[in-house]
């Protein structure tokens, strides 16, 4: 049992960490959120289909992060927090590496569920089905929302591209 759990830690810790980092930004809080998710995985390991551990874990990690965001901003809607890192104005002359970090920041500024969609699909390379399971959406919704998210990112890129 412990060996199986260790394997899951090895396989999924980076994905859970990346998702938590994108959602929470704060590394310490992201670590706490990941640990909580894995504790839940340990406690529920016998009731989870072994083939669906990854979407289950991503879903629990994401929900934990969103709960933390709600507690962090109890009187504000999440979108207000999302707007905190929006890059203002065109940033002409950026280098490629700078554009990479700019893209991460811009993904952070997306509203939910767009941000999770981009992270799960474009960063984690999850299948559409897995993304749908994590976010509790149907496949057409996943494709539509992902298209909108990418369109937003692309439009912002058009403004800052050298």
């Amino acid at each position: 049992m412990s060996r199986r759990f260790r394997r899951w830690v090895e396989e999924y810790q980076n994905q859970a960490w990346t998702l938590a980092r994108y959602l929470l930004k704060d590394p310490a809080e992201a670590e706490d959120a990941c640990q909580e998710a894995f504790v839940k995985l340990w406690k529920n390991q016998d009731s989870i289909d072994p083939d669906k551990v990854r979407p289950w874990l991503m879903k629990v990690t994401r929900n934990g992060c969103l709960d933390r965001l709600r507690r962090r901003h109890p009187t504000e809607e999440l979108q207000e927090w999302h707007q905190g890192d929006v890059v203002a104005g065109p940033m002409q002359g950026m280098h490629q590496s700078e554009l990479g970090s700019w893209l991460k920041t811009t993904i952070n500024s997306l509203k939910e569920p767009y941000r999770s969609l981009v992270v799960l699909r474009d960063v984690h390379q999850h299948s559409y089905e897995e993304v749908a399971a994590v976010l509790e959406l149907n496949l057409p919704q996943v494709k539509t929302y992902l298209h909108r998210a990418r369109k937003q990112l692309r439009e912002q890129l058009a403004e800052v591209r050298p």
Binding site: M1, A16, W17, Q35, L99, H124
Partner: protein, 143 residues
């Protein structure tokens, strides 16, 4: 779609493809690997009694025992009678003693009558044999 759009799309796709899963810090890995040990120490000591999470109904008798114990404690407390109850008891006692007095007097009279009569006759009979005047004196006494 013009050439600029195509270039933008390609650039965008290239950037997206560059996004990588970040490596979790070593501190997180250590925390995650400690989970089995930490969670095992939280498990119940008698797993054969309640395998898995403790059922909620197990606590129900414990919660029910609290008000029951309170009720028993309250009932065990010595109760102070009310003034009306004290007065009623006093009256009942007076009636009972009056009854006992009456019964005692009646019984005493009967005993006295029976024993006194027997005694008188036996003494009178004995004396009258030897002293004839006693009959007269007994009659005087009784009158």
């Amino acid at each position: 779609m013009n050439k600029d759009d195509k270039t933008l799309d390609a650039h965008f796709d290239h950037l997206l493809n560059q996004l990588e899963v970040e490596k979790a810090p070593a501190s997180l890995t250590r925390r995650l690997k400690r989970i089995p040990q930490e969670e095992r120490s939280d498990k119940p000591r008698w797993p054969w009694l309640f395998p898995g999470p403790l059922p909620k109904w197990v606590m129900a008798p414990a919660f029910a025992a609290v008000p029951l114990a309170l009720l028993v404690v309250v009932m065990m407390q010595p109760r102070q009678p009310s003034p009306a109850e004290v007065e009623q008891a006093r009256q009942d006692l007076a009636v009972a003693f009056a009854y006992l007095d009456k019964v005692g007097n009646r019984t005493g009279n009967q005993i006295q009558t029976v024993i006194g009569g027997e005694l008188r006759h036996s003494v009178k009979d004995q004396l009258s044999e030897h002293m004839p005047f006693t009959e007269q004196s007994l009659e005087e006494e009784t009158t």
